[in-house]
Symmetry: C2
Amino acid sequence: MSERKAVILVSGGLDSATVLAMARDAGFACHALSFRYGQRHEAEILAARRVAAAQSVVRHVVTDIDLRAFGGSALTSDIAVPKGRSMQAIGEGIPVTYVPARNTIFLAFALAFAESIRAADIFIGVNAVDYSGYPDCRPDYIAAFERLANLATKAGVEGSAKFSIHTPLITMTKAEIIRTGQTLGVDYALTLSCYDPGADGLACGACDACTLRRKGFAEAGLRDPARYRETVSP
Amino acid sequence: MSERKAVILVSGGLDSATVLAMARDAGFACHALSFRYGQRHEAEILAARRVAAAQSVVRHVVTDIDLRAFGGSALTSDIAVPKGRSMQAIGEGIPVTYVPARNTIFLAFALAFAESIRAADIFIGVNAVDYSGYPDCRPDYIAAFERLANLATKAGVEGSAKFSIHTPLITMTKAEIIRTGQTLGVDYALTLSCYDPGADGLACGACDACTLRRKGFAEAGLRDPARYRETVSP
Protein backbone atom coordinates (compact mmCIF):
# COMPACT_ATOMS: atom_id res chain seq x y z
CA MET A 1 0.00 0.00 0.00
CA SER A 2 1.57 3.27 -1.04
CA GLU A 3 0.79 6.09 1.33
CA ARG A 4 0.56 9.71 0.31
CA LYS A 5 2.61 11.86 2.63
CA ALA A 6 1.54 15.30 3.77
CA VAL A 7 3.13 18.07 5.82
CA ILE A 8 0.80 19.60 8.41
CA LEU A 9 1.57 22.88 10.15
CA VAL A 10 0.73 22.27 13.81
CA SER A 11 0.72 25.22 16.20
CA GLY A 12 -0.86 23.55 19.21
CA GLY A 13 -4.11 25.47 18.76
CA LEU A 14 -7.51 23.96 18.06
CA ASP A 15 -7.54 24.87 14.39
CA SER A 16 -4.36 23.02 13.46
CA ALA A 17 -5.32 20.05 15.67
CA THR A 18 -8.51 19.81 13.60
CA VAL A 19 -6.62 20.13 10.31
CA LEU A 20 -4.30 17.32 11.36
CA ALA A 21 -7.29 15.09 12.10
CA MET A 22 -8.81 15.97 8.72
CA ALA A 23 -5.56 15.12 6.89
CA ARG A 24 -5.36 11.79 8.71
CA ASP A 25 -8.99 11.11 7.93
CA ALA A 26 -8.24 11.78 4.24
CA GLY A 27 -5.64 9.00 4.39
CA PHE A 28 -2.41 10.97 4.45
CA ALA A 29 0.71 9.83 6.29
CA CYS A 30 1.13 12.97 8.38
CA HIS A 31 4.42 14.76 9.04
CA ALA A 32 3.90 17.59 11.53
CA LEU A 33 5.90 20.82 11.49
CA SER A 34 5.99 23.38 14.31
CA PHE A 35 8.05 26.49 14.98
CA ARG A 36 9.67 27.89 18.06
CA TYR A 37 9.74 31.52 16.99
CA GLY A 38 10.27 33.85 19.84
CA GLN A 39 6.83 33.48 21.29
CA ARG A 40 6.93 34.71 24.82
CA HIS A 41 5.94 31.25 26.00
CA GLU A 42 6.99 27.64 25.49
CA ALA A 43 3.46 26.43 26.22
CA GLU A 44 2.54 26.50 22.53
CA ILE A 45 5.30 24.05 21.66
CA LEU A 46 4.22 21.72 24.46
CA ALA A 47 0.67 21.82 23.11
CA ALA A 48 1.92 21.09 19.59
CA ARG A 49 3.85 18.09 20.87
CA ARG A 50 0.78 16.77 22.71
CA VAL A 51 -1.43 17.20 19.66
CA ALA A 52 1.06 15.56 17.27
CA ALA A 53 1.69 12.63 19.62
CA ALA A 54 -2.02 12.06 20.30
CA GLN A 55 -2.67 11.81 16.57
CA SER A 56 0.28 9.46 15.95
CA VAL A 57 2.08 11.49 13.30
CA VAL A 58 4.89 9.77 11.37
CA ARG A 59 7.31 12.47 12.45
CA HIS A 60 7.14 15.82 14.21
CA VAL A 61 9.80 18.40 13.39
CA VAL A 62 10.03 21.45 15.67
CA THR A 63 12.32 24.03 14.16
CA ASP A 64 13.69 27.25 15.64
CA ILE A 65 13.31 30.51 13.81
CA ASP A 66 14.02 33.95 15.16
CA LEU A 67 11.36 36.51 14.32
CA ARG A 68 12.32 38.68 17.28
CA ALA A 69 15.24 40.05 15.26
CA PHE A 70 12.69 41.89 13.12
CA GLY A 71 10.08 42.89 15.73
CA GLY A 72 6.83 44.47 14.65
CA SER A 73 4.25 42.24 16.39
CA ALA A 74 2.62 41.77 19.78
CA LEU A 75 3.45 38.06 19.48
CA THR A 76 7.20 38.56 19.09
CA SER A 77 7.94 41.78 20.97
CA ASP A 78 6.86 43.81 23.98
CA ILE A 79 3.68 45.21 22.44
CA ALA A 80 0.74 44.26 24.72
CA VAL A 81 -1.67 41.57 23.53
CA PRO A 82 -5.16 43.19 23.48
CA LYS A 83 -7.71 41.76 25.92
CA GLY A 84 -11.48 41.75 26.22
CA ARG A 85 -12.19 42.99 22.70
CA SER A 86 -15.69 42.58 21.24
CA MET A 87 -16.30 40.33 18.24
CA GLN A 88 -16.79 43.49 16.20
CA ALA A 89 -13.42 44.92 17.23
CA ILE A 90 -11.75 41.56 16.53
CA GLY A 91 -13.19 41.61 13.02
CA GLU A 92 -11.89 45.07 12.15
CA GLY A 93 -8.52 45.91 10.61
CA ILE A 94 -5.23 44.10 11.01
CA PRO A 95 -4.52 43.31 14.68
CA VAL A 96 -1.26 44.00 16.54
CA THR A 97 -0.90 40.23 16.89
CA TYR A 98 -0.21 40.11 13.14
CA VAL A 99 3.37 38.85 12.65
CA PRO A 100 4.95 40.22 9.44
CA ALA A 101 5.11 37.52 6.75
CA ARG A 102 4.57 34.74 9.29
CA ASN A 103 2.54 32.37 7.17
CA THR A 104 4.90 32.95 4.25
CA ILE A 105 7.81 31.84 6.42
CA PHE A 106 5.82 28.88 7.78
CA LEU A 107 4.73 27.75 4.31
CA ALA A 108 8.24 28.19 2.92
CA PHE A 109 9.59 25.78 5.55
CA ALA A 110 6.67 23.42 4.97
CA LEU A 111 7.53 23.44 1.27
CA ALA A 112 11.18 22.60 2.00
CA PHE A 113 10.06 19.78 4.29
CA ALA A 114 7.55 18.49 1.74
CA GLU A 115 10.02 18.47 -1.13
CA SER A 116 12.63 16.73 1.02
CA ILE A 117 10.28 13.84 1.87
CA ARG A 118 8.66 13.79 -1.59
CA ALA A 119 5.30 14.98 -0.34
CA ALA A 120 3.15 17.25 -2.50
CA ASP A 121 0.46 18.14 0.03
CA ILE A 122 0.71 20.83 2.69
CA PHE A 123 -2.07 21.52 5.22
CA ILE A 124 -2.46 24.80 7.09
CA GLY A 125 -5.28 25.83 9.41
CA VAL A 126 -5.85 29.35 8.17
CA ASN A 127 -9.33 30.77 8.50
CA ALA A 128 -10.77 33.72 6.63
CA VAL A 129 -13.89 34.03 8.79
CA ASP A 130 -12.60 34.87 12.25
CA TYR A 131 -9.16 36.00 11.10
CA SER A 132 -10.24 38.18 8.21
CA GLY A 133 -7.84 40.85 9.44
CA TYR A 134 -4.76 38.76 8.65
CA PRO A 135 -3.75 39.24 4.99
CA ASP A 136 -1.97 35.88 4.93
CA CYS A 137 -5.12 33.93 5.86
CA ARG A 138 -7.08 34.80 2.71
CA PRO A 139 -7.79 32.52 -0.27
CA ASP A 140 -5.99 34.85 -2.73
CA TYR A 141 -2.85 34.63 -0.68
CA ILE A 142 -3.00 30.84 -0.45
CA ALA A 143 -3.55 30.53 -4.21
CA ALA A 144 -0.52 32.76 -4.81
CA PHE A 145 1.62 30.60 -2.53
CA GLU A 146 0.50 27.41 -4.25
CA ARG A 147 1.48 28.89 -7.60
CA LEU A 148 4.84 29.96 -6.16
CA ALA A 149 5.45 26.48 -4.73
CA ASN A 150 5.23 24.91 -8.16
CA LEU A 151 7.68 27.41 -9.64
CA ALA A 152 10.06 27.33 -6.66
CA THR A 153 10.94 23.67 -6.49
CA LYS A 154 12.78 20.98 -8.36
CA ALA A 155 9.77 18.69 -7.88
CA GLY A 156 7.36 21.33 -9.18
CA VAL A 157 9.49 22.25 -12.19
CA GLU A 158 10.38 18.68 -13.15
CA GLY A 159 6.74 17.72 -12.73
CA SER A 160 7.32 14.94 -10.20
CA ALA A 161 4.99 16.74 -7.79
CA LYS A 162 2.15 19.21 -8.12
CA PHE A 163 2.07 20.99 -4.78
CA SER A 164 -1.28 21.67 -3.14
CA ILE A 165 -1.82 23.94 -0.16
CA HIS A 166 -4.85 22.56 1.67
CA THR A 167 -6.85 24.97 3.82
CA PRO A 168 -9.86 22.89 4.89
CA LEU A 169 -10.93 25.41 7.55
CA ILE A 170 -10.73 28.54 5.45
CA THR A 171 -14.49 29.18 5.19
CA MET A 172 -15.63 27.40 8.38
CA THR A 173 -16.90 29.11 11.51
CA LYS A 174 -15.19 28.23 14.79
CA ALA A 175 -18.25 26.21 15.83
CA GLU A 176 -18.07 24.20 12.59
CA ILE A 177 -14.37 23.58 13.12
CA ILE A 178 -15.00 22.32 16.65
CA ARG A 179 -17.87 20.05 15.59
CA THR A 180 -15.72 18.61 12.78
CA GLY A 181 -12.89 17.88 15.17
CA GLN A 182 -15.30 16.39 17.70
CA THR A 183 -16.55 13.96 15.04
CA LEU A 184 -12.95 12.99 14.23
CA GLY A 185 -12.08 12.41 17.88
CA VAL A 186 -9.82 15.41 18.46
CA ASP A 187 -9.07 15.91 22.15
CA TYR A 188 -9.32 19.68 22.50
CA ALA A 189 -8.10 19.48 26.09
CA LEU A 190 -4.62 19.04 24.59
CA THR A 191 -4.78 22.27 22.60
CA LEU A 192 -3.86 25.81 23.58
CA SER A 193 -5.34 28.75 21.68
CA CYS A 194 -4.27 31.65 23.90
CA TYR A 195 -1.98 34.46 22.66
CA ASP A 196 -0.88 35.19 26.21
CA PRO A 197 -0.77 32.08 28.41
CA GLY A 198 0.71 32.27 31.90
CA ALA A 199 3.93 30.61 33.01
CA ASP A 200 1.63 27.85 34.28
CA GLY A 201 0.43 27.21 30.72
CA LEU A 202 -3.13 28.35 31.51
CA ALA A 203 -5.03 30.37 28.93
CA CYS A 204 -5.88 34.01 29.71
CA GLY A 205 -9.46 33.71 28.50
CA ALA A 206 -9.57 37.31 27.31
CA CYS A 207 -7.32 37.73 24.26
CA ASP A 208 -8.84 37.57 20.77
CA ALA A 209 -7.90 33.90 20.36
CA CYS A 210 -9.49 32.92 23.69
CA THR A 211 -12.59 35.00 22.91
CA LEU A 212 -13.04 33.30 19.53
CA ARG A 213 -12.47 29.87 21.04
CA ARG A 214 -14.97 30.33 23.87
CA LYS A 215 -17.58 31.70 21.52
CA GLY A 216 -16.97 28.73 19.17
CA PHE A 217 -17.53 26.14 21.89
CA ALA A 218 -20.63 27.99 23.09
CA GLU A 219 -22.09 28.05 19.57
CA ALA A 220 -21.22 24.40 19.02
CA GLY A 221 -23.07 23.59 22.25
CA LEU A 222 -19.98 21.88 23.65
CA ARG A 223 -17.97 22.34 26.81
CA ASP A 224 -14.55 23.95 26.26
CA PRO A 225 -12.03 21.71 28.04
CA ALA A 226 -9.37 24.48 28.09
CA ARG A 227 -8.00 25.46 31.47
CA TYR A 228 -8.41 29.20 31.99
CA ARG A 229 -6.97 31.35 34.73
CA GLU A 230 -9.35 31.60 37.65
CA THR A 231 -10.06 35.32 37.31
CA VAL A 232 -11.52 34.90 33.85
CA SER A 233 -13.06 31.44 34.03
CA PRO A 234 -16.59 31.26 32.71
CA MET B 1 16.48 63.92 3.20
CA SER B 2 14.27 60.90 3.44
CA GLU B 3 16.13 57.69 2.70
CA ARG B 4 14.53 54.67 1.11
CA LYS B 5 15.39 51.55 3.02
CA ALA B 6 16.09 48.22 1.37
CA VAL B 7 16.77 44.69 2.58
CA ILE B 8 19.67 42.98 0.82
CA LEU B 9 20.26 39.23 1.07
CA VAL B 10 24.01 38.87 1.62
CA SER B 11 25.57 35.42 1.45
CA GLY B 12 29.22 36.38 1.47
CA GLY B 13 29.63 35.40 -2.19
CA LEU B 14 30.60 37.71 -5.00
CA ASP B 15 27.10 38.00 -6.45
CA SER B 16 25.45 39.35 -3.31
CA ALA B 17 28.44 41.64 -2.59
CA THR B 18 27.82 43.15 -6.02
CA VAL B 19 24.08 43.45 -5.43
CA LEU B 20 24.73 45.27 -2.17
CA ALA B 21 27.01 47.74 -3.95
CA MET B 22 24.34 48.26 -6.64
CA ALA B 23 21.64 48.92 -4.02
CA ARG B 24 23.88 51.44 -2.26
CA ASP B 25 24.71 53.06 -5.58
CA ALA B 26 20.97 53.40 -6.24
CA GLY B 27 20.69 55.41 -3.01
CA PHE B 28 19.11 52.87 -0.67
CA ALA B 29 19.82 52.72 3.05
CA CYS B 30 20.88 49.07 3.12
CA HIS B 31 19.87 46.53 5.74
CA ALA B 32 21.72 43.26 5.19
CA LEU B 33 20.26 39.84 6.00
CA SER B 34 22.23 36.59 6.18
CA PHE B 35 21.40 33.07 7.30
CA ARG B 36 23.29 30.51 9.30
CA TYR B 37 21.55 27.46 7.92
CA GLY B 38 23.41 24.32 8.56
CA GLN B 39 26.11 24.90 6.04
CA ARG B 40 29.01 22.69 6.84
CA HIS B 41 31.17 25.76 7.37
CA GLU B 42 31.06 29.06 9.25
CA ALA B 43 33.31 30.68 6.65
CA GLU B 44 30.31 31.93 4.66
CA ILE B 45 28.98 33.90 7.62
CA LEU B 46 32.40 35.45 8.22
CA ALA B 47 32.51 36.49 4.57
CA ALA B 48 29.00 37.96 4.83
CA ARG B 49 30.06 39.97 7.88
CA ARG B 50 33.16 41.28 6.08
CA VAL B 51 31.15 42.26 3.02
CA ALA B 52 28.40 44.00 5.02
CA ALA B 53 30.90 45.88 7.19
CA ALA B 54 33.04 46.97 4.24
CA GLN B 55 29.97 48.46 2.58
CA SER B 56 28.79 50.23 5.76
CA VAL B 57 25.28 48.78 5.94
CA VAL B 58 22.85 50.37 8.41
CA ARG B 59 22.33 47.01 10.10
CA HIS B 60 23.29 43.40 9.47
CA VAL B 61 21.00 40.70 10.84
CA VAL B 62 22.34 37.13 10.84
CA THR B 63 19.56 34.72 11.65
CA ASP B 64 19.71 30.99 12.36
CA ILE B 65 17.52 28.58 10.47
CA ASP B 66 17.75 24.84 10.47
CA LEU B 67 17.46 23.27 7.05
CA ARG B 68 19.30 20.14 8.16
CA ALA B 69 16.10 18.89 9.76
CA PHE B 70 14.76 18.36 6.25
CA GLY B 71 17.89 17.20 4.41
CA GLY B 72 17.81 16.74 0.67
CA SER B 73 20.82 18.78 -0.45
CA ALA B 74 24.60 18.53 -0.73
CA LEU B 75 24.79 21.90 1.05
CA THR B 76 22.91 20.76 4.16
CA SER B 77 23.64 17.04 4.43
CA ASP B 78 26.34 14.47 3.76
CA ILE B 79 25.85 14.30 -0.01
CA ALA B 80 29.22 15.11 -1.66
CA VAL B 81 29.62 18.47 -3.40
CA PRO B 82 30.57 17.72 -7.04
CA LYS B 83 34.04 18.85 -8.15
CA GLY B 84 35.74 19.54 -11.45
CA ARG B 85 32.58 19.60 -13.56
CA SER B 86 32.68 21.16 -17.02
CA MET B 87 30.64 24.26 -17.82
CA GLN B 88 28.35 22.04 -19.85
CA ALA B 89 27.71 19.71 -16.93
CA ILE B 90 27.13 22.70 -14.61
CA GLY B 91 24.50 24.03 -17.02
CA GLU B 92 22.50 20.80 -17.17
CA GLY B 93 19.68 19.78 -14.86
CA ILE B 94 19.17 20.67 -11.22
CA PRO B 95 22.39 20.16 -9.21
CA VAL B 96 22.67 18.24 -5.91
CA THR B 97 23.64 21.56 -4.33
CA TYR B 98 20.02 22.68 -4.81
CA VAL B 99 18.48 23.26 -1.36
CA PRO B 100 14.72 22.63 -1.35
CA ALA B 101 12.80 25.92 -1.22
CA ARG B 102 15.87 27.83 -0.07
CA ASN B 103 15.23 31.11 -1.85
CA THR B 104 11.57 30.96 -0.80
CA ILE B 105 12.66 30.73 2.83
CA PHE B 106 15.27 33.48 2.35
CA LEU B 107 12.79 35.81 0.63
CA ALA B 108 10.10 35.10 3.24
CA PHE B 109 12.46 36.26 6.00
CA ALA B 110 13.54 39.24 3.90
CA LEU B 111 9.87 40.15 3.53
CA ALA B 112 9.33 39.96 7.30
CA PHE B 113 12.40 42.13 7.85
CA ALA B 114 11.32 44.61 5.18
CA GLU B 115 7.80 44.98 6.53
CA SER B 116 9.12 45.42 10.08
CA ILE B 117 11.38 48.33 9.10
CA ARG B 118 8.88 49.77 6.58
CA ALA B 119 11.03 48.98 3.57
CA ALA B 120 9.43 47.96 0.29
CA ASP B 121 12.54 46.94 -1.62
CA ILE B 122 14.29 43.59 -1.40
CA PHE B 123 17.46 42.75 -3.32
CA ILE B 124 18.63 39.22 -4.09
CA GLY B 125 21.58 38.14 -6.23
CA VAL B 126 19.93 35.37 -8.20
CA ASN B 127 21.25 34.65 -11.66
CA ALA B 128 19.48 32.80 -14.42
CA VAL B 129 22.54 32.49 -16.66
CA ASP B 130 25.01 30.39 -14.68
CA TYR B 131 22.41 28.99 -12.29
CA SER B 132 19.76 28.06 -14.81
CA GLY B 133 19.43 24.70 -13.06
CA TYR B 134 17.97 26.24 -9.90
CA PRO B 135 14.22 26.71 -10.27
CA ASP B 136 14.18 29.48 -7.67
CA CYS B 137 16.62 31.66 -9.62
CA ARG B 138 14.33 32.21 -12.61
CA PRO B 139 12.39 35.39 -13.50
CA ASP B 140 9.01 33.58 -13.35
CA TYR B 141 9.71 32.51 -9.81
CA ILE B 142 10.78 36.00 -8.73
CA ALA B 143 7.66 37.54 -10.29
CA ALA B 144 5.50 35.01 -8.42
CA PHE B 145 7.19 35.87 -5.14
CA GLU B 146 6.74 39.59 -5.72
CA ARG B 147 3.03 39.02 -6.32
CA LEU B 148 2.82 36.91 -3.16
CA ALA B 149 4.62 39.57 -1.11
CA ASN B 150 1.94 42.12 -1.89
CA LEU B 151 -0.85 39.73 -0.89
CA ALA B 152 0.96 38.43 2.20
CA THR B 153 1.54 41.58 4.14
CA LYS B 154 -0.29 44.27 6.04
CA ALA B 155 1.77 46.87 4.17
CA GLY B 156 0.96 45.32 0.80
CA VAL B 157 -2.76 44.93 1.50
CA GLU B 158 -3.21 48.35 3.08
CA GLY B 159 -1.27 49.90 0.23
CA SER B 160 1.38 51.58 2.38
CA ALA B 161 4.07 49.67 0.47
CA LYS B 162 4.34 48.06 -2.93
CA PHE B 163 7.00 45.41 -2.52
CA SER B 164 9.60 44.98 -5.24
CA ILE B 165 12.02 42.08 -5.50
CA HIS B 166 15.10 43.44 -7.25
CA THR B 167 17.31 40.98 -9.12
CA PRO B 168 19.84 43.20 -10.85
CA LEU B 169 22.12 40.27 -11.78
CA ILE B 170 19.49 37.96 -13.18
CA THR B 171 20.55 38.21 -16.84
CA MET B 172 24.22 39.14 -16.35
CA THR B 173 27.17 36.87 -17.04
CA LYS B 174 29.66 36.34 -14.23
CA ALA B 175 32.18 38.54 -16.05
CA GLU B 176 29.62 41.35 -16.30
CA ILE B 177 28.82 41.01 -12.60
CA ILE B 178 32.50 41.26 -11.70
CA ARG B 179 33.09 44.26 -13.93
CA THR B 180 30.07 46.02 -12.43
CA GLY B 181 31.30 45.37 -8.90
CA GLN B 182 34.79 46.50 -9.84
CA THR B 183 33.37 49.82 -11.06
CA LEU B 184 31.49 50.23 -7.78
CA GLY B 185 34.57 49.48 -5.70
CA VAL B 186 33.61 46.04 -4.37
CA ASP B 187 36.55 44.30 -2.72
CA TYR B 188 36.18 40.74 -3.97
CA ALA B 189 39.01 39.59 -1.70
CA LEU B 190 36.42 39.73 1.11
CA THR B 191 34.01 37.35 -0.63
CA LEU B 192 33.81 33.57 -0.59
CA SER B 193 32.03 31.74 -3.38
CA CYS B 194 33.03 28.14 -2.62
CA TYR B 195 30.47 25.43 -1.78
CA ASP B 196 33.10 23.44 0.09
CA PRO B 197 35.69 25.63 1.80
CA GLY B 198 38.24 24.12 4.15
CA ALA B 199 38.37 24.64 7.90
CA ASP B 200 40.97 27.32 7.06
CA GLY B 201 38.34 29.24 5.06
CA LEU B 202 40.16 28.66 1.77
CA ALA B 203 38.10 27.96 -1.34
CA CYS B 204 38.37 24.53 -2.99
CA GLY B 205 38.71 25.92 -6.50
CA ALA B 206 36.91 22.95 -8.05
CA CYS B 207 33.22 23.00 -7.09
CA ASP B 208 30.69 24.54 -9.49
CA ALA B 209 30.73 27.88 -7.64
CA CYS B 210 34.55 28.10 -7.77
CA THR B 211 34.57 27.06 -11.42
CA LEU B 212 32.05 29.76 -12.37
CA ARG B 213 33.93 32.37 -10.34
CA ARG B 214 37.31 31.60 -11.87
CA LYS B 215 35.92 31.58 -15.37
CA GLY B 216 34.18 34.93 -14.64
CA PHE B 217 37.39 36.63 -13.53
CA ALA B 218 39.26 35.19 -16.52
CA GLU B 219 36.61 36.49 -18.93
CA ALA B 220 36.55 39.88 -17.21
CA GLY B 221 40.32 40.04 -17.64
CA LEU B 222 40.79 40.56 -13.91
CA ARG B 223 42.78 38.76 -11.25
CA ASP B 224 40.65 36.70 -8.83
CA PRO B 225 41.78 37.74 -5.32
CA ALA B 226 40.23 34.59 -3.73
CA ARG B 227 42.56 32.38 -1.76
CA TYR B 228 42.38 28.84 -3.10
CA ARG B 229 43.86 25.71 -1.60
CA GLU B 230 47.37 25.09 -2.92
CA THR B 231 46.51 21.89 -4.79
CA VAL B 232 44.04 23.64 -7.05
CA SER B 233 45.52 27.12 -7.31
CA PRO B 234 45.68 28.47 -10.86
